[in-house]
């Protein structure tokens, strides 16, 4: 494979927007996708991620703004003149052509006469060399998906756009194809822009994830950064699960903010608070369920100093193998979720038991209190884990 390494291969969107009548699908958006990166647009359906992708492909005309590929302004170019290719949701393979001709389609349209060698190499890359003369409907879902990738990649596009390419596959195959796509991306070095509603998929595959909500980019960063330092409750809930406590700022000074919540005190590192905190003001304190330790109330004395602590009563517990998931009722927050690794299980930790929840203050994050703590809870992580 040839590596396309011209330096100005970034995708740049400046002020790009799309409106349909009175409905705004994408609010003015600035986004830069660096050359060679694996970039994911993550969000629930209707958040504008597919529209954004289609504007890059040229299948949708932006209402405002500019699309740059490198230094070239491609906003006015029709799709067939853009050096990008798309892997469509449900693949859109040509049913009347065999696999070979499907993959050769782009090369032939650009006037190449001898395509045999390239097509065969590409089919080898996606491990479909044997299937070249079959029709698309004779292949399984996973194989069709690989044909769609091959058909796009063979043109050496500057950018490969993937529109929920794994949506039609079952869970196991999806995991397999995620690794496969990641492998191919590393091998060919082409910029991938991947649209998905599956947070786990986005986190496994992408270098950079842009979380979209209601036509806006809510937050952009590496998967770990988004997970550890969400700046809105939407991001905090959409990527994994979060517990929130509404707290009042008691004092601030140095590197930490001290907060009051339900009679107790909590410590939050200043650097991890994305909301303006002034003494007496409100802040939403967030903590991930796996960061929390659970100790029976009788052993409360053994908890080391300097940890954030909250008391409560176990409302529910479910054993799921690697961990046990507890729901704890506490005065500051009902339905506090705690995931405890199954290392040394305390037999006293059953529903009804009084417990102390404690965690390292460094794992606390602070958000603006003026937003719903339930944003992004629907159709996100909860659904994925149920499936």
């Amino acid at each position: 494979m040839t590596n396309t390494t011209d330096p100005g291969g970034d995708v740049r969107l400046t002020g790009i927007a799309k409106t349909y009548g009175a409905f705004t699908a994408v609010h003015p958006l600035d986004l830069t996708v660096p050359q060679g990166s694996f970039f994911a647009l993550l969000g629930a359906s209707g958040c504008g991620k597919t529209t954004t992708l289609r504007m890059i492909a040229g299948l949708e005309e932006p209402s405002a703004g500019t699309v740059f590929l490198g230094d070239q302004d491609v906003t006015a170019l029709p799709p067939y003149k853009r050096p990008v290719n798309t892997v469509f949701q449900s693949y859109a393979l040509f049913p009347h052509l065999d696999i070979f001709e499907n993959v050769a389609f782009g090369l032939r349209r650009r006037g190449l006469k001898s395509v045999k060698k390239q097509v065969e190499e590409m089919l080898e890359l996606v491990q479909l060399g044997e299937q070249a003369r079959k029709k698309p409907h004779q292949l399984s879902g996973g194989q069709q998906q690989r044909v769609a990738v091959a058909r796009a990649l063979i043109n050496h596009p500057k950018v490969l756009l993937l529109d929920e390419p794994l949506g039609a596959l079952d869970l196991k195959l999806r995991r397999q194809m995620q690794l496969e796509l990641k492998r191919i991306q590393t091998e060919v070095g082409i910029t991938f822009i991947h649209v998905t509603h599956d947070q786990e998929e986005a986190m496994t595959m992408a270098d950079t994830v842009a979380v979209m909500n209601g036509g806006r980019v809510e937050q952009l960063g590496t998967p770990a950064d988004l997970y550890e330092n969400p700046r809105t409750t939407f991001v905090a809930n959409f990527l994994g699960t979060s517990n929130f406590i509404e707290a009042e700022v008691d004092s601030q000074g140095g590197e930490d903010i001290v907060l009051k919540a339900g009679g107790g005190k909590l410590v939050l590192p200043e650097a991890r608070c994305s909301a303006p905190a002034s003494t007496g003001g409100k802040v939403l304190v967030g903590v991930r369920p796996e960061k929390i330790s659970l100790t029976h109330a009788d052993d409360a004395g053994e908890i080391p100093e300097g940890r954030n602590r909250i008391t409560g009563r176990i409302a529910d517990s479910s054993f799921i193998g690697v961990s046990t998931q507890y729901v704890v009722d506490s005065p500051v927050c009902s339905d506090f979720e705690v995931y405890a690794q199954n290392i040394d299980r305390d037999p006293r930790l059953v529903p009804g038991a009084e417990v102390v929840l404690h965690w390292n203050p460094a794992h606390t994050f602070g958000l603006d209190a003026a937003q719903s703590v339930f944003a992004g809870t629907e159709g996100s992580a909860g659904v994925e884990e149920a499936a």
């Binding site: 990008v84 798309t86 469509f88 349209r109 796009a152 043109n155």
Partner: protein, 309 residues
Amino acid sequence: MSTLTEAPPPLAPDAPGPKPPRRRGRLTPYWLLLPGILWLLVFFALPMIYQASTSVQTGSLEEGYEVTWHFATYWDALSAYWPQFVRSVLYAGTATVLCLLLGYPLAYLIAFRAGRWRNLIMILVIAPFFTSFLIRTLAWKTILADGGPVVGALNSLHVLDVTSWLGLTAGDRVLATPLAVICGLTYNFLPFMILPLYTSLERIDGRLHEAAGDLYARPWTTFRKVTFPLSMPGVVSGTLLTFIPAAGDYVNADLLGSTDTRMVGNVIQTQFLRVLDYPTAAALSFILMAAILLMVTFYIRRSGTEDLV
């Protein structure tokens, strides 16, 4: 069917086993087929046999006809009326091509571009069926009348000079010329072309057009390489639904044509109803049927749509 064949186990100990419902379930398809089979037997198979026997009879109207296995009737009919056969194929073929050229863009428009006008245009396509075939063809007689606006316009645009040179019209007339007959055939069979074309175009996934555009195909290339091949089932059924009835048609040639534009349908009609030479008429019918069957078989083989349907 599965609900009948997989009956739940009987609850009562003396209940009959699952055999009776199963037997009834197995026969159901045949019962459903029976009316259709009877219909075909009475109105298709029997007349065909009767026709076949008629075509090998000799005799006269006064003395009565008798089956004498006189196959020479076929040869005689063919050698006497081959010009009408050739004319039928030419007129029907031209009308079919014209229907395809007129119908494809319209079907494409309805399927992909009409938006909320889709239903209205569909109604306009079907609307002519609400009046009689005969009335509509007679209306064309008025439209193409000598000295009428259409002929006047064609004349001043010098279109008639071209068509006269092609042998389709004669002088300043359109009526009673091949052009009039072909126009009538095209008009009358156009909906039979548009409907199957529309059905097959409408089934094409719009994302295939996007995919082709994404893979560097210009709009015209997308049409040639994706849309048209995928609409082949519609093209084949549309052309068959147009060509087959047009080749046997006699109304258009009768009302809009002259003695020089007689098609095989007119000959059969005359032989049956005026000359009362039943064997020749029956033989002509069979020759027409065989010719159409041959052409259609060849056409379907060539178009290679078996795996698309």
